[in-house]
C-alpha cells in the first residue's frame, strides 16, 4: 500500500477549477516531485493534503486512513508536515528555539507530568534537546543556533524551514518550492540534504518545485500537473522524453535545460 494516496481529487474556487480529478501515489522512502507551470494547481494540492483546504471531490489517504477534511494540526499529528511557499519561520525566535517549538509533538506530555516536572518530563526534555542539535547539524545550521531567525540570510532561512519540518518528526515531508531563490551551489547542497534526509531518516518527501535541475537530480518519480490535471507521471528519464510534458512547458512554463530560475 502506498504511503500517500491522492484519488480523484478536485477543487474549485468560484469559477476557477484549481484541480481536476488528480490521482497519484507516494511510496515509503521515495522522493516525488510535483511539477507544472505556474497556476497548475500544485500548491492547492499541497493545501488539500495538509488540511489547509478540503477537496471538493475525491479523497486523500495517508497510511490507509483518510486525511481529507482534517484540520492542519491534526494532519501534522498524523505525520504529514509541510513547508510553505513564502518563507515561514518563527521570526522572533532564535534558530534553536524555532526547532524547539517545532519539536512540540515529541516534547509534549501529560498535564500533571509537565506541571510537576517529573523525571519522565525531564528525560523527554533532554531527548528533545539532543534531537534539536542533531537536526541543526544535519541541516548545517549549527553555527547559527543562537541567531534570531529574522536575521538569517535567505538561503539559510530555507534551510531553517526544512529543519523545522524535520523537527516535527514527519513520516511524510512536503516541501513547497524549497529551491526557490537559491543559487546553484545552494541548490546542489539542497539535493544532497534531501537525499540524506530520505536515506538516513527514512523520511518520505513530496516536493513542489520549479527548478528542473533539482527535480531531475533528486526525484525518484515525477508527477506533472497542467491546468489542474495530471498529464504525466514517471521517472525523470521518462518525463524528459514525454511529449505532452514538453508541450506544456513550451506553452509558457519552465526552462527544462537545467539552468536555475533566479
Amino acid at each position: 500500500m502506498a504511503m500517500l494516496e491522492v484519488r480523484n481529487v478536485s477543487r474549485r474556487f468560484g469559477g476557477l477549477q484549481a484541480n481536476k480529478d488528480v490521482s497519484f501515489e507516494v511510496n515509503q522512502s521515495e522522493i516525488v516531485s510535483l511539477i507544472g507551470p505556474n497556476g497548475a494547481g500544485k500548491t492547492t494540492m499541497f493545501n488539500m493534503i495538509t488540511g489547509f483546504l478540503s477537496p471538493d471531490e475525491g479523497d486523500v489517504t495517508f497510511q490507509g486512513k483518510s486525511v481529507a477534511g482534517l484540520k492542519p494540526h491534526q494532519v501534522a499529528q498524523r505525520g504529514i508536515v509541510r513547508s510553505f511557499q513564502i518563507t515561514n519561520v518563527f521570526a522572533g525566535l532564535t534558530v534553536e528555539d524555532n526547532l524547539v517549538a517545532a519539536h512540540y509533538m515529541r516534547a509534549r506530555g501529560g498535564f500533571w507530568e509537565t506541571m510537576l516536572n517529573t523525571k519522565a518530563a525531564r528525560d523527554r526534555d533532554s531527548a528533545m534537546r539532543v534531537s534539536v542539535r542533531d537536526i541543526l547539524r544535519l541541516v548545517g545550521l549549527e553555527a547559527l543556533a543562537d541567531e534570531d531567525a529574522k536575521n538569517l540570510a535567505y538561503g539559510k532561512l530555507r534551510l531553517l524551514e526544512i529543519a523545522i519540518g524535520l523537527s516535527a518528526a514527519p513520516r511524510l515531508l512536503l516541501l513547497d518550492e524549497p529551491a526557490a531563490g537559491l543559487n546553484s551551489e545552494e541548490s546542489a547542497r539542497l539535493v544532497e540534504l534531501l537525499r540524506l534526509i530520505c536515506r538516513e531518516r527514512g523520511t518520505t518527501i513530496l516536493l513542489v518545485e520549479h527548478d528542473m535541475s533539482v527535480v531531475m537530480e533528486v526525484s525518484d518519480r515525477i508527477v506533472v500537473l497542467n491546468f489542474g490535471q495530471k498529464i504525466a507521471e514517471g521517472t525523470p528519464v521518462e518525463i524528459r522524453a514525454n511529449s505532452a510534458v514538453v508541450e506544456a512547458y513550451l506553452g509558457g512554463g519552465l526552462d527544462f535545460g537545467g539552468a536555475n530560475n533566479a
Partner: protein, 292 residues
C-alpha cells in the same frame, strides 16, 4: 401605542445619528489603518467640551463655534497621528491598541481635571419649542442634528468618491502595496484618514452636547458603543456603519422605552455577541473569523 412607537423610533434615529457619525469615523480608521482606536470616544467628548467652552465661557455663537472646533480637532487628530501613530505603522496590533488605550486614559483624565465631572450642555441659542409632525414631537435642535449628520456624511461620501484624496484613501484601503507603487503617499493618507475619523467623532460630540449633555466619563462607553456599531455593520463598511448606527439607536430607544432603561446599554453588546457567533463577518462586512 403606535404613536409611542413612532416617537421612540424617531428618538432612536436621532441617537442613531450620533452613533453613525462616530461609527463612520471609526470604520474609516479601522478599515484603512487596521487600528483599533480606543480613544475615539475621547475625541467625541473633547469636541463637545471645546464647543461648550467656546460658547459658554467665551460667548462665541454656536454656529461659529462649530467650524472652529472642527478645525481644531482636525489639527489635533493630525498631531496625534504624527506624534504617535506614525511611529507605529509597522508595529503589532497589540502595540497599536495599547497606544490608543494610553491616549484614551490620558485624554479622559486630563479632561476630567480641566472640565470636572459635571455634564455640560451646550447653549445653542436655538429655542426649545418642540415641533409637531403628526404624532411625532421633535425639537429644532434634534432636527438640526439629523440634518447636520446627513450633511456631514454626504460630504465625507463625496470626499471619498470624488476627490483625489478620497481616491487615494480607497486605493490604500484596497491594495496598500500597489498604492505605494503608484506614488500615493501612504503615511499622509493615513494621517488624513485619522484626522477625518476623529473629527467626525468630535462633530458627533458637539451635536450630542447640544441635544443632551456631554461629560468626560461618557468617553469609554461611547468608544465601546461605536465599536459595537462598526462590528454590526461590518468593519470597513461605510454603509454598514451608518445603518448599524441608526439600527442601534432605534433598538436602544425601543428597548429603553418598552422594557427598561437600566439594561439599555446591554442591548448593543448582546447584539454584537450574538452576531459574531452566528455570522462572524458582520451584517455587511469583511471576515472576522479566523482562518481555518
Amino acid at each position: 401605542m403606535l404613536d409611542v412607537t413612532i416617537q421612540f423610533i424617531v428618538n432612536g434615529l436621532v441617537s442613531g445619528c450620533f452613533y453613525a457619525l462616530m461609527a463612520v469615523g471609526l470604520t474609516l480608521i479601522f478599515g484603512m489603518m487596521q487600528i483599533v482606536n480606543f480613544a475615539h470616544g475621547d475625541f467625541f467628548v473633547l469636541g463637545g467640551m471645546l464647543t461648550f467652552v467656546l460658547t459658554h465661557s467665551l460667548g462665541i455663537p454656536f454656529v461659529v463655534a462649530i467650524p472652529l472646533v472642527l478645525v481644531a480637532m482636525w489639527l489635533f487628530g493630525m498631531a496625534v497621528d504624527w506624534a504617535l501613530l506614525s511611529r507605529m505603522r509597522d508595529a503589532s496590533m497589540m502595540s497599536n491598541a495599547l497606544v490608543t488605550i494610553g491616549l484614551s486614559v490620558f485624554m479622559v483624565n486630563t479632561m476630567l481635571l480641566i472640565f470636572g465631572t459635571d455634564p455640560k450642555n451646550i447653549v445653542t441659542g436655538i429655542d426649545r419649542v418642540p415641533l409637531l409632525f403628526g404624532p411625532v414631537v421633535i425639537t429644532k435642535v434634534r432636527l438640526i442634528t439629523i440634518v447636520a449628520s446627513i450633511a456631514a456624511i454626504a460630504v465625507v461620501h463625496y470626499m471619498i468618491n470624488h476627490t483625489r484624496r478620497g481616491r487615494a484613501m480607497r486605493a490604500v484601503f484596497q491594495q496598500q502595496e500597489a498604492a505605494a507603487l503608484v506614488g500615493i503617499p501612504i503615511s499622509q493618507t493615513y494621517r488624513f484618514t485619522f484626522a477625518l475619523g476623529t473629527t467626525l467623532a468630535a462633530l458627533s460630540g458637539i451635536l450630542l452636547g447640544a441635544v443632551f449633555v456631554v461629560h468626560p466619563t461618557m468617553a469609554d462607553l461611547a468608544t465601546v458603543k461605536a465599536f459595537v456599531v462598526v462590528i454590526l455593520g461590518g468593519m470597513g463598511s461605510f454603509g454598514g456603519a451608518i445603518l448599524g448606527g441608526l439600527l442601534l439607536g432605534v433598538v436602544e430607544s425601543l428597548w429603553g422605552g418598552f422594557v427598561s432603561t437600566g439594561y439599555m446599554d446591554v442591548i448593543g453588546f448582546l447584539l454584537v455577541i450574538g452576531l459574531l457567533l452566528v455570522k462572524p463577518s458582520g451584517l455587511f462586512g469583511l471576515a472576522g473569523a479566523r482562518e481555518k
